[in-house]
């Protein structure tokens, strides 16, 4: 039932009516022809109806707080309540983004320190916190690459190279920044095809965008040679931080030779995903790209106070990316997370994320599943391919995913990366216990059994959720994007 179906004309949540306190509530006659004459069309419901409706809706969601969520590449780890509470202190919540620096030293101190922590964990020279999600961080990074070449008068560099296993945002971002995309093949072992790279890299190359560990769930072993190849040709190297959790505290992208990167704080720094956002995608750069950082950033004055740095301080900046200064509330949560973990805790993130992934991969292999890259060490995630099950039992990766929901586990990422047929990309994260992982393996073992003996049970799953499989074709054909409210 929709909130609109609870609506009755004249019903109201009376406590939310503001009385004009001591101000004559004159009609807005001075607005004249600007006045709205049509109805607003919002629902008319009581406060209890609202609370009950949205509480009930929430119960229809899977969430990390309720279940294991092994979504590959998404890093669905526990979101600490302490970080949420720290960002929800009234002084932070009520701070206006344009409040003078003198009245903002608390927030600025946190942002300044977070910049320093992020420089440290990535091995970069400078950081800007303003990008509001990974994709915007990518945009900032690639726009800086463009600005760098243009500043040098190097106008022929119009191509961005992207491995074929890359996230869809990589090519989409390159196009938004005005580049042409060239995809580089990946070998059977999951590495970038170095010969293919050498064949296309050249004076038209602006840069290469890479994730490492890659979306194949393996570490790109030739990264230093790749960096050398791209740099020798005059291009720059972009690090997509989507998989930073795998190496946090162990390996730094700056040391691998990357010139620019974004981090997904909603993954690596445990800020909540919120049902699809907000994210936060700070960018880090080496010395060459530092003059182009997006504004504003936070600097420290000689007297030890903090202040915003804008285009007057960073004249070659690519510019501003948000109305104010990014998803500040998410940055505060990430800052709190960093303080709770400290350097030692951060070192352990990559270690235990990797331990969990390798243990889960090994357990699933023993349960009869086929790993896409069995000869390789798993990083924080790995791929299972169900090509054989799809061929012989006609049970697809999507069927396995849907059946997992019945067992109370969120499905892994399905059909990504595109180059592995019928794949599940599985990422347990460091915050899951051995017992939780064992439970997941037991469910997967059971489903594999079902697929062989009772395939229809799997192909028609889920059976125990609020709805069965939805008609996506009808959704796109008979577009119904808003409830038709009857006045």
């Amino acid at each position: 039932m929709l909130i609109y179906e609870h609506s009755r004309p004249g019903r109201m949540a009376r406590a939310q009516y503001v009385a004009a306190q001591g101000i004559s509530s004159e009609l807005a006659d001075d607005l004249g022809a600007h006045l709205r004459s049509s109805a607003l069309g919002l629902p008319e419901v009581s406060e209890l109806e609202v609370v009950r409706h949205y509480t009930n809706l929430s119960s229809k969601n899977f969430a990390i707080d309720k279940q294991f969520y092994p979504l590959g590449s998404c890093t669905m780890k526990y979101n600490p309540r302490g970080a949420h509470a720290a960002a929800s202190i009234p002084g932070f919540l009520k701070r206006h983004p344009l409040a003078p620096a003198a009245n903002s030293q608390g927030y600025l101190a946190c942002a300044y320190e977070l910049q320093n922590y992020l420089k440290d964990v990535t091995g970069m020279q400078a950081v800007s916190l303003t990008p509001m999600a990974g994709a915007q961080g990518e945009f900032a990074g690639v726009a800086m690459i463009r600005a760098y070449h243009q500043k040098r008068g190097d106008h022929d560099r119009v191509e961005i190279l992207v491995p074929e296993a890359a996230h869809g945002t990589n090519p989409a971002t390159a196009v938004m920044c005005g580049f042409v995309v060239r995809e580089i093949p990946v070998t059977k072992e999951g590495d970038v095809d170095l010969d293919a790279l050498k064949a296309v890299v050249g004076p038209r190359t602006a840069g290469l965008m890479m994730t490492n560990p890659s979306t194949c769930g393996v570490f790109e072993r030739q990264i230093q040679e790749i960096a050398e190849t791209v740099h020798e040709a005059g291009g720059l190297l972009y690090y997509d931080g989507a998989n930073l959790n795998a190496i946090l505290g162990k390996v730094r992208p700056g040391d691998m030779g990357f010139d620019v990167l974004h981090m997904n704080l909603h993954k690596t720094f445990a800020t909540p995903h919120g049902g699809g956002g907000p994210g936060s995608g700070p960018v880090g750069v080496g010395a060459r790209l530092a003059p182009f950082l997006p504004t504003p950033t936070v600097g420290m004055a000689e007297d030890g106070t903090y202040r915003w740095l804008d285009h007057k301080d960073i004249p070659d900046t690519i510019g501003r990316l948000s109305t104010f200064m990014g998803n500040a509330g998410i940055l505060l949560r990430a800052y709190a997370y960093a303080r709770l973990l400290g350097a030692e805790g951060m070192n352990r993130v990559g270690e235990y994320a990797t331990l969990n992934a390798n243990y889960l991969a090994k357990s699933l292999e023993q349960a009869g599943y086929t790993l896409a890259y069995p000869a390789r060490r798993a990083t924080h995630e790995f791929i299972v391919t169900l090509a054989s099950e799809a061929k012989h039992q006609h049970v697809t990766a999507m069927d396995f995913a849907k059946r997992l929901l019945d067992y109370g586990y969120h499905a892994p990422t399905t059909y990504f990366p595109l180059l592995v047929p019928e794949c599940l990309l599985i990422e347990p994260t460091e915050t899951e216990s051995k017992a939780e992982i064992d439970g997941f393996v037991a469910a997967m073992t059971q489903i594999r059994q079902e697929a062989m003996t009772e395939p229809a049970l799997v192909t028609t799953a889920p059976h125990s959720l609020p709805v069965k499989r939805l008609d996506d074709v009808k959704a796109a054909r008979d577009l119904d994007l808003a409830y038709k409210v009857t006045a």
Partner: protein, 456 residues
């Protein structure tokens, strides 16, 4: 080990199952010379209690007693139920609703949000939100250039009285795709766009109108929309959702309405929180829906015919279309959409109207009181919505500095924002301000002006 549940025996069992002696061995494919990370800037970990103490100290530094600062982010009362519900783990810690059967809560909520936004703006369709108001406008510009079939222009005419930060963000985002942003200067006497715009609009792909504009003023949107229509340009309206409870929604501008409406959703139950996370909303005509970026939720049925909700029109998006997508955007501001939807449900038609009306009355009351101070005048005379430019007899930035030292943020000094407005203060009044607050503002303003005069 914060948030890592492994016991020593768990760890040993797991290593044994994998067949490696220790965790370090799991990193054996990484070249040795790269495995040298030592963190020197990150301090040692602290407890939650110590964190809470530190953050309380810092947050206190940012507290002010009273604020009249707006300029794109507005202090409103947020009903207690809003963040109580938003804070539920089922909303807060869910992922993007790709597995529709396990995400009906989020999906239905977004469908309700889309419905509310279409009604509030009087537009046909809405998406599930983008990052913030400024990026929503940038996406709308790119969308308009793609959607405008009547010309092949890359030129977008932008109202000169648009929030300068919006203009700056749009410039950053669209310049690499060859769009040209032409500023249509506002009349310095009125703060509004000029009465003749036909020449400026000739051959343009789109016109961007801000309603209210950066100064709080209300442009003649009917005339502007009709002029754009006859020039073959699409109309993008940048609107404040609270204002739409009182003033004309973009779908009703002129004879045919705006083509795309965008704006900042922060006033709908989202705290100021240093500028984000907020949400940018986007609405458009039905015919342009396939050019709209971002997530869109549709209602459909399941295998048994039961209604359900799912992501739809995904062929526009980067995870399907990669380099040919409408945008690289991958998230929406899901949690903020949750807040806005609950806020709009709680306020309803009359509640939101009262918020808007009270803010409007308060703004007029403040203007009247402030203009009794010697040398203070309203910079522009036309009607406004909840924001007004006051012209002061002294430099406005000095006034802001001195009033802020008393714990009162009087508004935004416009000198750094708009050329020739050093004496101007942009003041916002929402329903949160009482007559006593407004009187306090006026009293302190008068004092501080005298103080500044005395020191100059």
């Amino acid at each position: 080990m914060p948030f890592i549940p492994h016991t020593a025996s768990d760890e040993q069992e797991m290593l044994g199952a994998i067949g490696v002696p220790n965790i370090d061995a799991l990193f054996d494919e990484i070249p040795k010379n790269l495995r040298a990370a030592t963190l020197s800037e990150v301090p040692a970990g602290i407890s939650e209690m110590a964190l809470q103490r530190l953050m309380n100290q810092r947050a206190r530094l940012d507290e002010v007693a009273l604020s009249f600062l707006g300029a794109g982010a507005y202090e409103h009362h947020i009903p207690a139920a809003v963040w109580d519900l938003v804070g539920r783990g089922e909303f807060m810690t869910a992922y993007t609703p790709y597995q529709a059967e396990a995400s009906q809560g989020t999906l239905q909520l977004i469908y309700e949000f889309q419905t509310m936004m279409t009604r509030l703006t009087a537009m046909d369709v809405a998406n599930a939100s983008v990052y913030d108001g400024a990026t929503a406008l940038a996406e709308a510009m790119l969308m308009a250039v793609r959607a405008n079939k009547s010309n092949k222009s890359n030129r977008v005419v932008v109202a000169g009285n648009l929030n300068p930060n919006y203009h700056a963000v749009c410039h950053t985002i669209v310049k690499n795709q060859g769009l040209i942003l032409d500023v249509l200067a506002h009349d310095p006497a009125t703060g509004c766009l000029p009465g003749a715009v036909e020449a400026a609009l000739e051959g343009a792909a789109a016109l961007v109108i801000s309603y209210p504009n950066f100064f709080g003023g209300l442009d003649d949107v009917d005339y502007l929309t009709d002029s754009a229509a006859s020039a073959g340009a699409l109309v993008i309206g940048v609107v404040n959702p609270t204002a739409l409870a009182l003033i004309k929604p973009p779908g009703e501008w002129g004879t045919r309405g705006a083509d795309i409406a965008v704006g900042e959703g922060q006033p709908l139950g989202i705290p100021l929180a240093s500028g984000g996370p907020y949400l940018g909303f986007m609405c458009c005509r039905q015919q342009f829906v396939r050019q709209m970026p971002g997530r869109i939720i549709g209602r459909t049925v399941d295998q048994t015919g039961k209604p359900g909700y799912t992501l739809t029109l995904q062929a526009r998006e980067q995870h399907i279309r990669r380099g040919k997508a409408t945008s690289n955007i991958c998230t929406n501001q899901g949690l903020l959409v949750t807040a806005a939807t609950i806020y709009m449900s709680l306020l309803g038609n009359e509640g939101l109207r009262q918020v808007a009306l009270t803010a409007h009355s308060g703004t007029n009351a403040l203007t009247n009181l402030a203009c009794q101070i010697d040398g203070v005048t309203a910079r522009f005379s036309g009607p406004v919505f909840h924001e007004r430019v006051l012209s002061l007899p002294v430099d406005a930035s000095l006034v802001v500095e001195k009033m802020a030292a008393h714990g009162v943020l009087p508004g935004l000094a416009l000198g750094d924002w708009v050329t020739g407005m050093d004496d101007c203060l942009l003041v916002n009044v929402t329903e949160t301000k009482t007559a006593a607050d407004i009187a306090c503002f006026a009293r302190l303003l008068a004092e501080v002006i005298e103080e500044v005069k005395a020191t100059c």
